[in-house]
């Protein structure tokens, strides 16, 4: 009896939200990541409102100007203000990342949880399908999807969403497998509770930890994938700016106008780094074993 009393809180009751955030923000690196993400999110929302110049307003006479008081990040080959474009591109890049990861999360979780809970032939079929998708390199698969559907904002989101679905399916299935054999799930089932209720009430809340971590890391990768697709000319189409597209446009001017590539490149770098730092912080907090260590440290 003492044994199960000790184990129960760790497995069955998720930690309270307040203590989680407190733990998370205690780590200074994670805190920095959170602040950067907050700024990026704010820029994504208000970027187009505060941009000093029209994002697609060309002014060829003023092309390829280095950074100055007038144009903080300089101007590109068509005389457009790079600062304004980096600001506005934030929304596109985040939108693609969030939409595609949301797609991957929803589909992946449904596939994974069904697979992990029902087992049997359905599990085998679904997981072999996931294996097939894993066999392709992520970017190659995304490029193939874009090649079939034609480039554009929507297909970019869809392509990135599809290629990240298998990861979520795997993570969900693994966690579901381990939670499904817990005594409280078995007890619930014995009492005649329906499968859907068990999935929603008992299993889903207990697998959120790994999913949150995976989401955070996938957001970082999705931003990179969008940049890569746009850099290959397959993602967001001109004149709409995205960070990757700006890099693509800058490659012919590497030796002449460093500011065209440095600033969108830095925006990608900083955002991806922030997502990764926050993801690491989340993993530390949400992993029960790691959390015990953190809490012990805190007490000391």
């Amino acid at each position: 009896m003492t044994m199960s009393e000790k184990q129960a809180p760790a497995a069955a009751t998720p930690p309270s939200r307040g203590s989680l955030i407190g733990l998370l923000l205690q780590n200074k690196v994670t805190l920095a990541g959170c602040i950067v993400l907050l700024i990026v999110a704010v820029v994504a929302i208000i970027g187009p409102l505060v941009a000093p110049y029209g994002v697609n307003a060309t002014n060829v006479v003023n092309a390829l100007q280095p950074p100055s008081a007038e144009h903080w990040f300089g101007t590109d080959d068509l005389g457009r203000d790079v600062f304004s474009r980096v600001l506005v591109a934030t929304r596109v890049s985040l939108l693609v990342a969030v939409a595609s990861v949301a797609f991957a999360l929803v589909i992946g979780v449904v596939v994974g949880i069904v697979s992990g809970y029902t087992r049997g032939w359905l599990d085998t079929v679904l997981m072999r399908g996931v294996d097939v998708m894993f066999a392709f390199p992520v970017l190659l698969l995304a490029m193939a999807i874009v090649a079939i559907l034609g480039p554009g904002l929507l297909t970019t989101m869809l392509a990135i969403g599809i290629v990240y679905t298998p990861i979520f399916a795997r993570v969900t299935r693994g966690s579901t497998l381990s939670v499904a054999v817990e005594p409280f799930v078995q007890a619930s089932r014995t009492m005649g509770t329906g499968s859907f209720f068990i999935l929603r009430r008992h299993i889903l809340p207990n697998i959120t930890g790994p999913l949150i971590v995976q989401t955070s890391l996938s957001l970082a990768f999705a931003i990179l994938s969008e940049a890569a697709l746009s850099f290959l000319g397959l993602g967001v189409q001109p004149p709409q700016p995205s960070w990757g597209r700006m890099l693509f446009d800058a490659q012919g001017f590497l030796g002449m106008a460093w500011w065209m590539s440095i600033f969108p490149g830095a925006a990608i770098f900083i955002t991806v780094l922030a997502f990764n730092l926050v993801g690491d912080g989340l993993r530390d907090v949400l992993d029960p074993r790691q959390r015990t260590i953190l809490e012990a440290r805190r007490r000391r």
Binding site: V60, D77, P238, P239, M256
Partner: protein, 505 residues
């Protein structure tokens, strides 16, 4: 570095040896400098059959392997090549060509009138890509070994430029063509013969010592395929290649003061244009098309695509040509454009602008055009597929406006007939003006040059007034080569000729 030092050493010894036997008798100087020229072109040929390929990369190589009956000189006037002389009958319907004697193909077989007949019949009978250039021809006969008679259905003043404008009308060897080897191992009569073709890597040519125009001074030409402009330029500067045309326009200015290379820049016969789909509303309204022509900023477009290397032009034919005519109806005038839109009763419109990602300059220009047209209420969405998809979309009429270029034209008929005649094969914008049709038909058979030019001037002005095409600019031919390469010339028709170049030491 090491190997180059070694070569220099050998060359020095060579000079010393020559100096020693100063009688000079029988010393083969050509053999002494026998250096192979390495040229970097921007892409690999799809095949080497001159009658079948349409790729410029193929013609860069084939220019040096094949000959045509006549060929354009640096002013694009037709000069004798395989034909030494020709006569036109009084009724203008029979052309008699006297062929050069003693010419042999690279495989040693003799060049005769039968080869000419075979070559042209191959293009016509198999309906190959240049068959339309020979459409006026009704009969080709070899009257003896060195005489060919060509009969045409109506007077055809541009026959010479149709026959010799470029190597797509090359005289090929029948054995070579019938065996199918021609697509990888072509046999011609030109200054160089094909030695080796390594797919994905290089094409090696060696000098044809028996060339009728005199053996080339260089030992051969190696073509390498380098699509990345910066890489090609770096290779040129380091001496790995001697010549390249793989040069991004934005780097040209930076190269002008560079004395490690020679920059060749020459106005070309190419032109870039916009065309609106006249099968669709509201682009079928001439006032809307004129509004677009007034709204765009040609100077800005030429600047972002060519960085000051192109010449803005409101008609197709460039200033350097004797067929050039002055025309400057359109200047950027937003008020005029707006009032034209209002007259047409089109306050706003959506436009899909079709450009190709294979031509990055067109994508850059499209963004300027989108910005220009926003001012007169036209919302532009840019579509930039690869060129193959671009062609499909054009041919299926899936566009509101497109931007593209034509290249390699010489005669005004090349510039206007196929594009703007109601029955023209390249009239994708579906332009039809009976007056223009009549002028183009008449000009085709008019034999007096001045009268012919007047007809084309009139037709071209009508075409531009109707904005069938909105002409933008003529780009320059931009090539760069090593200062050691002598007697090379960047030509307006983009023909790459290495037959008379040499290396200084």
């Amino acid at each position: 570095m090491k190997s180059r030092m070694l070569l220099a050493g050998i060359a020095m010894t060579g000079v010393a040896a020559l100096a020693a036997c100063s009688t000079g008798e029988g010393v083969d100087l050509d053999g002494a400098d026998g250096r192979v020229l390495t040229a970097a072109i921007a892409g690999e040929p799809d095949q080497l059959d001159p009658h079948k390929t349409t790729s410029y990369f193929s013609f860069q190589v084939l220019e040096n392997i094949y000959d045509t009956l006549v060929e354009p000189d640096e002013n694009l006037e037709m000069q004798p090549a395989l034909a030494e002389d020709w006569e036109l009958s009084d009724d203008q319907l029979t052309w008699t060509f006297e062929l050069r004697e003693g010419v042999t193909f690279h495989d040693g077989s003799e060049f005769t009138a039968d080869d000419v007949v075979y070559s042209y019949n191959r293009i016509i009978d198999e309906e190959l890509s240049n068959a339309w250039r020979l459409s006026a021809i009704t009969d080709i006969t070899a009257t003896d070994d060195t005489t060919v008679e060509i009969t045409v259905a109506q007077p055809t003043p541009n026959l010479l430029s149709s026959l010799g404008g470029f190597k797509g009308l090359a005289i090929v060897s029948e054995d070579n063509a019938e065996s199918g080897d021609i697509s990888t191992a072509p046999v011609g009569t030109g200054p160089f013969s094909l030695e080796n073709y390594t797919s994905g890597d290089s094409i090696e040519l060696v000098a044809n010592e028996d060339y009728w125009g005199g053996a080339p001074e260089i030992a051969g030409v190696t073509f390498r395929f380098i699509s990345e402009g910066s890489t090609a330029l770096a290779a040129l500067k380091s001496g790995d290649v001697d010549w390249t045309d793989s040069i991004p326009a934005q780097q040209v200015q930076g190269l002008e003061g560079d004395d490690t290379i020679v920059l060749g820049q020459n106005p070309s016969n190419d032109y870039w244009y916009l065309a609106m789909n006249q099968a669709k509303e509201p682009w079928n309204d001439v006032r809307v098309r004129q509004a677009v022509a007034y709204a765009i900023d040609r100077d800005a477009i030429a600047q972002v695509t060519s960085y000051g290397t192109a010449e803005v032009n409101q008609l197709a034919i460039p200033k350097a040509s004797s067929w050039y005519s002055e025309y400057d109806t359109y200047s950027t005038d937003v008020d005029q454009a707006k009032s034209l839109m209002a007259d047409a009763g089109v306050p706003s419109a959506e436009m899909e602008l079709l450009v190709s990602s294979d031509y990055p300059e067109s994508v850059a220009a499209a963004q300027v055009i989108a910005d220009n047209l926003a001012e007169i209420g036209i919302t532009v969405s840019i579509s930039s597929p690869d060129f193959a998809s671009w062609l499909d979309a054009q041919n299926a009429g899936r566009f509101d406006m497109l931007m593209m270029s034509w290249l390699g034209n010489i005669d005004p008929d090349d510039f206007y007939y196929a594009q703007h005649h109601s029955a023209g094969g390249s009239n994708a914008q579906q332009y039809s003006n009976p007056e223009v049709d009549a002028l183009l038909d008449e000009a085709r058979t008019e034999t007096d040059t001045d009268a012919r030019k007047a007809l084309y001037d009139e037709a071209a002005a009508l075409i531009a007034d109707d904005a069938s095409y909105i002409y933008l600019y003529n780009p320059s031919v931009i090539q760069a080569w090593s200062p050691e390469l002598e007697d090379y010339e960047a030509r307006g028709d983009r023909a790459i000729r290495f037959k008379s170049v040499s290396f200084s030491d």
